[in-house]
Amino acid sequence: MTARTLAVVSAGLSQPSSTRLLADRLSVATSTSLQELGFSPAVEVVELRDLAHDLTDNLLTGFPSPRLESAIEAVVGSDGLIAVTPIFTASYSGLFKTFFDVLEPQALTGKPVLLGATAGTARHSLALEHALRPLFAYLRAVVAPTAVFAASEDWGAGDSPVGRALAERIARAGGELADLMGVERRRPAADPLSTLTPFEQLLSGN
């Protein structure tokens, strides 16, 4: 079976965190769909809470700590990404944004991404569409059509229509990401020499 690596970024702050819970559900759904498509998924989870100090340091110094660097490598080098944030003040959390701010500008170009968000009330659900989706559009990621929002009430819904709706949405989103990850994609090159512009070309202004 062909391997596919799936990176999961969770920006939840409490432990346990409903954001992480949603991230895990999305991860399982995607992995299941990947297996159905004949791929062998490998999941790597990045908990931004553990990297909060490293992220601030990166903002101040301009370079990542070794720990943050390996998290960045896991995300940039993956075949697909699940990005989940709590909604704070009508948008993604600052911690979530900081992680994507410290990536190289082209790092997520062409990357299949599934978006998720959590909040206390369903009234925040459109933040996925008015905040997260534009962010990943700017990064030129390939974002799955379905984004998954889970409010507090969804977790207690059980096998009711509300609870089933969330489960169905998670399954559909995971299937969409798996489909996107099934396609071979060109990755940005990690080796700076392979993207080096020869000097004659620089001189001629190209």
């Binding site: 601030t56 903002l59 101040l60 370079f63 700590s65 070794p66 512009t197 001189l203």
Partner: protein
């Protein structure tokens, strides 16, 4: 191997006593530091260029000219000269003039500058940083090597029959280092011309510096200037030393914690582990700096940053004593012993003159109107 000191010329409050030196004080201090660099047996003093507070050094050639007059062996350089926002004609003139006055004890390091607002103050745009560095340097070289230049480019007024004066001393322009922290294009530029490459090596992990130097070395060989290990590499680095390493850490910590460039970020310990910052005993500094050779190969120039973040002049001078007495002699001996014979030293004016087959007076005597300088090009 050349050793020296480079300064960014910041005026920073001493966090241990709340005292901020005046510009006058700090400018005189830099002269004192430069003279001390020569006195303790180091080779190079390099001064940065900035056009915004808290930095005082907007005019490195004036400062270096003043220092040149009070020193006799010290090699004067910059860290860096802004090739993006300075007119390349003025750079050609200023550094040729300094070269004459300093008897050839001059080279320079070109950089782009990293502060966005500075560019528009000089009519430029930071988004053109790389194209400006490429075009301006191409013109600068021509102004130094060709007596009469016709030129047209994208960023500057065209030149017709222009002669930059004074001509370089003995017909040999100052050696140029290209400084870059993270732009492969600048490593490529240094390699293309066979010039030196300087990595500031202060803010970033050694793994990154190693990668940048690797690109430069590989491309230096590609362009036929020699083998990759013969390329001319300079590194920065930052140290703070006391006899006992605990004393060094205790004394330096408040300066580190409040330093404008990295203060309030990673801990001193974390930052020291990842970047070349070394705070400890002279022996620890020696061991750390000997290890750089394993990362970047045999290199030609090591500059230390020792005077920033509000450190008082007295402390800086003590650091220079330690460098001169205990650290640099050992590093010099060890690194020179390890360096294979085919790896060259950093070029100096004397070595460049010798390589050219001797000194030539390159004075251009214009015919005609010698008052306004509007004479036609001299037939040669």
């Amino acid at each position: 191997m050349q050793f020296g000191v480079f300064s960014v010329s910041d005026i920073t409050t001493d966090p241990t006593n709340g005292r901020t030196p005046s510009e006058a004080e700090r400018i005189q201090a830099i002269v004192t530091i430069a003279k001390k660099v020569e006195e303790v047996g180091l080779d190079v003093f390099a001064l940065g260029e900035h056009h915004n507070p808290p930095f005082f050094s907007s005019s490195p050639t004036t400062t270096l000219g003043f220092i040149a007059a009070q020193t006799s062996t010290l090699l004067l350089s910059t860290a860096t000269t802004l090739i993006t926002t300075n007119d390349p004609v003025k750079i050609a003139e200023d550094y040729a003039m300094l070269q004459h006055l300093a008897g050839g004890r001059v080279d320079l390091t070109l950089g782009r500058g990293n502060t966005g607002p500075v560019y528009p103050w000089f009519g430029q745009d930071i988004r053109n940083g790389i194209p400006l560095a490429v075009e301006n340097y191409a013109l600068l070289r021509r102004l130094w090597t060709e007596d009469v230049v016709d030129w047209q480019g994208k960023f500057r007024t065209p030149l017709q029959g222009f002669t930059s004066t004074p001509r370089p001393l003995d017909g040999v322009p100052p050696f140029v280092w290209h400084g870059s922290i993270r732009s492969p294009e600048i490593a490529e530029q240094a390699a293309y011309y066979g010039d030196g490459f300087f990595h500031n090596n202060i803010f970033w992990p050694m793994s990154h510096t190693k990668q940048m130097v690797g690109i430069y070395r590989q491309r230096f060989e590609h362009y036929g200037h020699g083998r990759a290990d013969q390329a001319i590499v300079g590194l920065g680095g930052q140290v703070f030393m006391r006899k006992n390493s605990q004393d060094a850490v205790r004394e330096f910590r408040p300066y580190f914690d409040n330093a404008p460039v990295y203060g309030h970020g990673p801990s001193l310990e974390d930052f020291s582990a990842v970047t070349p910052l070394t705070v400890g005993s002279p022996q620890q500094v020696i061991e750390r700096y000997l290890s750089f050779r394993e990362d970047v190969g045999d290199y030609q120039r090591q500059l230390f940053l020792i005077d920033h973040a509000g450190l008082p002049l007295k402390t800086v001078l003590e650091q220079l004593d330690i460098l001169g007495e205990e650290v640099v002699p050992v590093l010099r001996r060890e690194l020179d012993a390890l360096r294979p014979a085919h790896v060259p030293d950093a070029p100096t004016h004397a070595s460049l003159v010798a390589a050219k087959g001797g000194a030539q007076d390159s004075t251009v005597y214009a015919a005609g109107d010698d008052v306004t300088g509007k004479a036609p090009a001299v037939a040669r």
